[in-house]
C-alpha cells in the first residue's frame, strides 16, 4: 500500500467514525484509535497522537453551534479545566512510560464504559441552588433555556466532581481521547448538573484538555503529520456532516448498533492487549 492509498483509506474510515460519533454522541475519536490499531495495523502511539489532534478539531468546531443554544456553563467549564489540564499533563507523562499492551487494556475498558453510557437514560432534572456552598462561592450556579423560559439550577458535590475531572484528564492524556463520557459522568452524576448543560460544557472542555497533552505528545514524536492529516480532515468532515443530520434524525436504533460496534472493538482491544499482541 502506498502513502496515497493509505491516506485515502484512513480519511474515509475517519469520516465514517466522525459521522457516527457525532450522530450518536459518542465522539469520533473513541472509535478511530481501535480501528487504526486493529484494522490498519498502526502503532498504538501514532494512533493516540493522531486521534488527540482530531479530538481538538471536533470539540472546537462544534463549540460555535452549541454556544448558540445557550446551555454551556463557562464558569463550570473553566473551573473544572484546572483539574482536567493538570490530569492531562500527568496522563501524557505517564503514557510515555506505560507499555502499549497496558494502554490497550485501559482503552478497551473506557470504550466499554462509553458504549454502555451512550445507551442509558438521561435526566434533565435541575438541582436546587445552594446544594453545595462551595458552588455558590465559585458562582457556578446558572440558568439554562427550559421549556418555560430560563430555568435555574444549582451545582452539587463540587469536590467530587473536581476529583473525577482530574481522572478524566489523566485518561485523556493517557489515551489521547476526549474522555467526554467521564466528563459527563462527573458533571451529570456527581455534580447533578442538567444533562444538556453537562454535555455541551464537556464538549467545550474537551479541546482545552486535549491541548494540554498535545504539546507533550508533539515533543515526544507521537504526532506523525502523514497519519494525523487524514485522521483530522476525515473526522472533521464526518462530524460536521453528522451534526447537520442530527436535527430530526431517528438515532435510537443507530445508537444501539454503534454501541454494539464500539463494545466489540473494546473487547478486541482488551484481548489484544492482554495477550500481548500489541
Amino acid at each position: 500500500m502506498n502513502t496515497l492509498e493509505f491516506s485515502i483509506i484512513v480519511a474515509a474510515v475517519s469520516a465514517v467514525a466522525g459521522f457516527l460519533g457525532a450522530l450518536t454522541g459518542l465522539g469520533g475519536g473513541v472509535v478511530i484509535t481501535p480501528v487504526l490499531i486493529l484494522l490498519l495495523g498502526v502503532d498504538l502511539r501514532y494512533a493516540i497522537g493522531a486521534t488527540l489532534v482530531s479530538v481538538i478539531a471536533t470539540s472546537s468546531g462544534a463549540a460555535a453551534a452549541y454556544v448558540k443554544e445557550g446551555f454551556s456553563n463557562i464558569r463550570v467549564g473553566m473551573f473544572l479545566e484546572i483539574a482536567t489540564t493538570i490530569g492531562a499533563v500527568v496522563g501524557a507523562a505517564v503514557a510515555t512510560r506505560t507499555p502499549a499492551s497496558a494502554l490497550a487494556v485501559i482503552f478497551g475498558l473506557i470504550l466499554l464504559y462509553s458504549a454502555w453510557d451512550s445507551m442509558r437514560q438521561k435526566s434533565e432534572q435541575a438541582a436546587p441552588r445552594g446544594c453545595d456552598p462551595l458552588a455558590e462561592r465559585l458562582r457556578l450556579s446558572s440558568t439554562f433555556p427550559g421549556p418555560e423560559g430560563p430555568t435555574a439550577y444549582g451545582v452539587c458535590r463540587v469536590k467530587t466532581g473536581f476529583g473525577l475531572m482530574f481522572g478524566a484528564g489523566v485518561l485523556s492524556g493517557l489515551l489521547g481521547i476526549g474522555s467526554g463520557a467521564v466528563k459527563v459522568l462527573a458533571m451529570d452524576r456527581a455534580m447533578s448538573i442538567p444533562f444538556k448543560v453537562s454535555t455541551t460544557t464537556s464538549n467545550f472542555m474537551i479541546g482545552v484538555t486535549a491541548a494540554a497533552s498535545a504539546g507533550i505528545y508533539l515533543s515526544r514524536g507521537y504526532i506523525a503529520p502523514g497519519l494525523a492529516m487524514p485522521v483530522m480532515l476525515g473526522v472533521l468532515a464526518g462530524s460536521m456532516l453528522g451534526a447537520r443530520f442530527l436535527m430530526g434524525a431517528r438515532v435510537r436504533a443507530l445508537r444501539l448498533l454503534f454501541g454494539c460496534v464500539v463494545a466489540a472493538l473494546a473487547l478486541e482491544m482488551i484481548y489484544s492487549g492482554a495477550t500481548g499482541k500489541l
Binding site: F6, D43, S60, G215, L218, S219, G226
Partner: protein, 128 residues
C-alpha cells in the same frame, strides 16, 4: 447580579473564534496534504512501528523553519500546531472577558489554566 446574559455574549465570541481556528488550521493541513501527497504519495509508508518523528517535526521552532522552506510535512505539522493553539487562544481570550467583568476570581482561575497549557506546550520543548 445576573452574569448569565453577559457570559452568553462572551461565549458566542469564543465559539466564533474557535470555529475560525479550526477552519484556518484545516486549510493549512489540507494545503500541506496536497503538496505532500503529490510529492511522496507513491512511496510505501506504514505506521506499523513506532520510531518517533524527526526532531524538527517535534519542536515549534523546527516546524516553523520547515514550513517556511515549504517542506510539506512541516506545513501539515504547522496546521496541527495551529489547531492545538486554538483552545489555548480561547482560554487567553476568556481571561480578558472575565477581566472586563471585573471577576477577579475567574481571572485568576483562567490564568491558572492558561499557565498549565503553556507549561505543557513549551515545557516539553527543552527536554528534547
Amino acid at each position: 447580579m445576573d452574569t448569565a446574559e453577559h457570559d452568553r455574549g462572551v461565549e458566542v465570541v469564543i465559539g466564533t473564534l474557535l470555529r475560525w481556528g479550526v477552519v484556518i488550521s484545516a486549510a493549512v493541513v489540507f494545503a500541506g496534504a496536497i503538496g505532500w501527497l503529490a510529492h511522496s504519495g507513491a512511496q510505501p509508508r506504514d505506521y506499523l512501528h513506532f520510531h518517533s518523528e524527526a526532531r524538527d517535526l517535534r519542536t515549534i521552532s523546527g516546524v516553523l523553519a520547515g514550513a517556511a522552506r515549504l517542506s510539506w510535512a512541516h506545513v501539515i505539522q504547522l496546521g496541527l500546531l495551529l489547531l492545538i493553539a486554538t483552545p489555548v487562544a480561547r482560554v487567553a481570550f476568556t481571561v480578558f472577558a472575565f477581566w472586563g467583568e471585573r471577576d477577579w476570581m475567574y481571572v485568576a482561575i483562567t490564568l491558572l489554566v492558561l499557565a498549565i497549557l503553556l507549561f505543557s506546550l513549551l515545557g516539553g520543548q527543552h527536554s528534547i
